[in-house]
Symmetry: C2
Subunit: 133 residues, 2 copies
């Protein structure tokens, strides 16, 4: 593995009803708030919403590309805070801080996944174990 | 919303190559370690591996069913540690502790997502905000 670049690459995911429907089929979670447009429109959300995994994709993608590996190394941690759902039409992009030394010996990367209005959808801190950061 | 039961419901996800291929199509992550059986077999993993989101599904599903809501409430947090990848043929099941009061006022639920050998794939703590736990 080559030494990672100073910063994570950019990463984003465009949320669409097709994407949500696809994830429903994969996960088996067909809750109508995800897949039924009329139900979603009448819900407190005002539209269908994406499953919680989908807006996490940008941080997974960026970390894996940055490290040049296909999966988070064992021992990686991720502390996440869910702020708001994401909806069809949203583009969720990663806003990652410059990786820094973690007191525990690894590499610490604070980040947020933002929607196109700049609102935090998910906020978190990833810590990669010492051997790989 | 009715008062939640004392414990989370059971939840599991059966990892298959079809499931992984489906998630690749949804996420756009077609890394050969996920979708190419020969590549996976020749890799350090010895097989294809699932994308990191998939073994998280049991905790998402169980929390949402427990609360009777379709998405984690805003302000929910999840601290995760990734221990090992999951593979086609694995059945990942939730092992959740009894929900307890969090010092911050919410509800704290330590959990692990285990494979069929009882090995931890993901370990974590979910904290639900005070208004919902």
């Amino acid at each position: 593995m080559t030494r990672p670049a100073p910063s994570l690459p950019t990463a984003e995911i465009a949320i669409s009803q097709d994407l949500i429907d696809g994830y429903a089929a994969v996960s088996g979670d067909f809750n109508p708030v995800h897949v039924d447009r009329a139900f979603g429109a009448a819900s407190a959300f005002g539209s269908t919403i994406a499953h919680g995994c989908l807006p996490m994709e940008p941080i997974f993608m960026a970390l894996q590309r940055w490290l040049g590996v296909p999966a988070l190394p064992p021992g990686s941690t991720m502390d996440l805070r869910y702020h708001r759902p994401s909806r069809p039409g949203d583009v969720i992009r990663l806003d990652a801080a410059t990786p820094e030394a973690d007191p525990g010996g690894g590499t610490r990367i604070p980040f947020a996944c933002l929607n196109q209005a700049g609102e935090k959808v998910i906020e978190g801190v990833a810590v990669l174990p010492a051997a790989v950061g």
